[in-house]
């Protein structure tokens, strides 16, 4: 976009389009009976963290499914996102160690 200054105009290097925020998914009141996806992004010791989370979730009556991203430094593929969205009610993602 061009912006006015004094008697001239500048070209903005920004993409100033405003993206509407993504609505948050509804939060369930309890996790018992729910399927929780556990996403390991392939960072060091992410799996160890998820092991602990998985134990706690199972103790609370949730089912778990584990997924692993191919590489931590790239966004998850749409196929993986779709699969998680289709099979899990909730997701826990393990980030950096």
């Amino acid at each position: 976009m061009t912006v006015q200054h004094g008697t001239g105009q500048y070209v903005s290097p920004f993409d100033d389009r405003v993206r509407p925020p993504e609505p948050l998914a509804p939060r369930p009141a309890a996790i018992g009976g729910r399927t929780v996806g556990l996403l390991d992004i392939s960072k060091n010791r992410g799996a160890a963290f998820l092991d602990e989370i998985e134990s706690d979730l199972e103790a609370a009556g949730a089912r778990t499914i584990r997924w692993t991203k191919e590489i931590f430094s790239k966004p998850a593929t749409l196929a993986l996102i779709d699969e998680i969205a289709g099979r899990a009610d909730l997701v826990v993602e393990a980030l950096a160690d």
Binding site: G6, V11, P13, R17, V18, S73
Partner: protein, 517 residues
């Protein structure tokens, strides 16, 4: 409380360009926050409420900041203050403010179903705003047939001292003569204005006037796009690429190289996304080969990695500005580099093909030597390698290779991502005189640097080192192909350099031919 119908609204926005009340109340209710740039209380309100807007939006309450300022000023201020709601602007004579009877900013107006005004809060009034938000929650809850009268829980404005703070006069309420008397002069320092707008990497820039951007574009179509720039996925229209080239200080004849480099870094195989946001210091090395080097005055000789040459410095800078401004990777923002490195201001190297005993990089990558090609490589900062004493190519190759033994991390062996060696002409001449090919040097360097796994088990190390027998020899590189060899630098002096890798990004070396402008 008696409600009355909200006056119609027609204010400027980005996509769509004109926004009305229907748009803002489409999801249920709207919170109109009238503000102005100069008003500190407006800034306080935007900063306090800004982070809550996304959550409100999800629940059906659209928050919109309506500035009494030009749209670009509004966007800049909103971005700085962390406002996540809609950003709108009204020009003089501020019809929207007049229609809503504003005396001061900030003023928050809650508009509910049927576009009725349900409440108004003037100034920063935390209890008043909290009440307004609770009212919005009750209104939205009552709108759900299944849960009549159950309030939707909306995040409350934070308790910030002082709880009450008066605002500033609305521009709509100013006497025009008074407004003219207190307005700032139009002609301010243009270079300071660039900092003010955030159109900088921290150094002064060349203001991207429409005239300069048009000259940079030449016959290119400014609306053509090179695709989204990660991490925030701003669209790299050629007009924005040209604006970045102007800001960086490029001359128009550099633009085809800037475009080729931009295309290369935007190739998903390069993974600019990962490099842009990582805590590691990754920069993007731009290597230029072919006739364009001489045509635009790129330096491949003395000080090839240093200051002094406009083409080298500004081309590298233009690509970095594209990533940080259009792509949103501002240091301290989405760019999370712990330390960073000076190469992140820009790093553009022309290979000295004439001084090289070997095929140039682009020929090695499958291009014809007569083509002009830009190649991008994710890299760490250069490390100097001094060697004035080697008298055999074997000794020199050993010194060069072992200089990189601590690249990335002391005990992180092997490295799979490319390490770039910039060989100075005097060093290159020794290999030329001995008849060494690039392949031979690369394989010698690969074979030279290895250590037993048992000696690499302190601190950060690789799974390969951890699982190997203690006496298993681990090479520094995963293969000879992880060693990239370039020739550049002054005729005198035996100083080469190695640029360590950007690891963990799955980043490939990417090349693009330079298309004539």
């Amino acid at each position: 409380m008696q409600s009355h119908r909200a006056p119609p609204l027609s204010v400027a926005g980005v996509d769509p360009a004109v926004v009305g009340l229907d748009d803002l109340t489409a999801r249920g209710a709207a919170l109109l926050v009238f503000v102005s740039e100069e008003c500190p209380t407006s800034a306080m309100a935007l900063r306090a409420l800004g982070p809550l807007c996304a959550g409100w939006q999800a629940a059906g309450l659209t928050a919109a900041a309506i500035f009494e300022d030009p749209l670009d000023v509004a966007l800049r201020v909103a971005r700085r203050l962390g406002w996540t709601g809609r950003v709108l602007s009204q020009p003089p004579p501020y019809q929207a403010s007049r229609a809503y009877g504003l005396l001061s900013v900030p003023t928050a107006v809650l508009v509910g179903r049927g576009q009725a005004i349900e409440g108004t809060v003037v100034g920063w009034d935390q209890p008043g705003l909290a009440g307004l938000i609770r009212q919005a929650g009750q209104m939205l809850g009552a709108g759900h047939a299944a849960s009549a009268a159950a309030a939707v829980v909306l995040a409350q404005p934070p308790v910030i001292e002082p709880l009450l703070k008066p605002g500033c006069s609305s521009k709509a309420a100013l006497d025009p003569a008074v407004a003219a008397a207190i307005s700032r002069p139009a002609a301010e320092d243009e270079l300071e204005e660039m900092f003010e707008r955030g159109w900088t990497d921290g150094l002064p820039v060349v203001p991207p006037t429409v005239e300069r951007v048009a000259a940079m574009l030449g016959s290119a179509d400014g609306s053509q796009t090179l695709g989204p720039v990660p991490p925030s996925m701003g669209e790299a229209t050629l007009e924005r690429v040209a604006a970045c080239a102007v800001l960086a200080g490029c001359q128009p004849e550099y633009f085809p190289v800037v475009v080729a480099a931009s295309r290369a870094v935007l190739d998903p195989a390069f993974n600019l996304h990962g490099q842009a946001v990582t805590t590691q210091p990754a920069g993007q090395l731009i290597v230029v080969n072919g006739p364009v080097r001489r045509a635009i005055g790129l330096n491949s000789g003395m000080g090839a990695l240093g200051p002094g040459f406009r083409a080298n410095l500004t081309i590298g800078r233009a690509v970095r500005l594209l990533a940080s401004l259009c792509g949103g990777a501002m240091p301290g923002g989405l760019d999370r580099a712990t330390l960073g490195q000076m190469g992140k201001i820009g790093c553009c190297l022309a290979e000295d093909e004439e001084a090289s005993p070997w095929e140039p990089l682009h020929a090695e990558l499958g291009f014809d030597p007569s083509q002009s090609v830009v190649t991008v490589i994710g890299c760490d900062a250069p490390q100097n390698i001094s060697d004035h004493r080697s008298r055999t190519p074997e000794d020199l190759a050993y010194v060069l290779a072992w200089a990189a033994a601590s690249s990335w991390s002391t005990n992180w062996w092997p490295l799979a991502d490319p390490s770039v060696f910039v060989i100075c002409p005097e060093h290159a001449a020794m290999f030329r005189d001995a008849g060494w090919s690039k392949r031979r040097l690369r394989e010698f360097m690969f074979d030279a640097v290895h250590r037993p796994a048992g000696e690499l088990r302190r601190g950060e190390t690789t799974p390969q080192v951890q699982s190997a027998e203690a006496d298993t020899e681990i090479p520094k590189w995963a293969s000879p192909d992880a060693i990239v060899l370039l020739v550049a630098g002054g005729e005198a002096g035996r100083y080469s350099a190695v640029l360590g890798p950007c690891t963990g990004m799955g980043s490939r070396i990417v090349s693009r031919e330079v298309q004539p402008g």
